[in-house]
């Protein structure tokens, strides 16, 4: 099956710093999503981005589908950005299902 690799596994930064998280995947996909899992375990959808670039406030993401990678950028980090960031890619299964395969995540810690 499709493989998803995220890097780095852990990242510790000071408040105000910028960061880039990377997601590589092994096969063509028609769905790619970035999630933030906060310290309480809630998974929040950040972007649905199978290709192209999107921005939402201090966060932006770029997916280059032909080269099978996606990047998540976080600018001017805040302590509330701490948590685990997951990349998940969609494989079209039975009846067009958008089943997602998750990476292992990048654990981001923002220190005040």
């Amino acid at each position: 099956g499709i493989q998803v690799e995220q890097s780095p596994p852990d990242l510790i930064l000071q408040e105000g710093a910028n960061s880039t998280l990377r997601c590589n995947f092994s096969d063509s996909v028609n769905n790619l999503q970035w999630f933030h899992q906060n310290p309480w375990g809630q998974l929040i959808n950040l972007f649905y981005i199978p290709s192209g670039t999107k921005q939402n406030g201090r966060l932006s993401a770029t997916t280059v589908a032909t080269e099978r990678y996606s990047l998540l950028y976080i600018s001017s980090s805040q302590t509330t950005d701490s948590g685990v960031y997951f990349c998940a890619v969609g494989t079209r299964g039975i009846q067009g299902a958008q089943k997602l395969v998750f990476g292992q995540g990048t654990r981001l810690t923002i220190n005040p």
Binding site: G41, N45, A88, G93
Partner: protein
């Protein structure tokens, strides 16, 4: 509802018992997914519903696990003869059938003792 609701939020059960976990998706979302997340891991796919039918149950680990969605809205994940290895956070998500972004619930933390 406004979000995906999962109940209970926590469940402790004895080995060998039967448990049911409930998911109430966002109104209008026809696709519903169950995932399982173990400590330190990313979520793993269990089963997907399109409407009332289980369109893909390839992620269910064995026949002790079963899920239903009888009216195309609320879904129940059922686990028979629970084992300690079933302990995990069970997550439900919903979306429009064409994909777009998933919305996850807060999960049910299942502990089998």
């Amino acid at each position: 509802g406004a979000g995906v609701s999962q109940t209970p939020s926590n469940k402790v059960t004895e080995k060998g018992k039967y448990v049911e976990l409930r998911c109430d998706p966002i109104s209008g979302h026809t696709a519903l997914y169950w995932y399982r997340q173990s400590l330190g891991q990313g979520p793993e796919f269990l089963i997907y519903f399109q409407g009332t039918g289980a369109a893909d149950d390839s992620g269910l680990p064995n026949d002790r696990f079963f899920a239903v969605r009888p009216e195309g809205s609320v879904s129940t994940l059922k686990i028979q003869r629970t084992e300690r290895g079933d302990s995990a956070v069970y997550l439900c998500a919903s979306s429009f059938i064409q994909g777009d972004g998933y919305t996850f619930g807060s999960g049910t933390r299942l502990t089998v003792v």
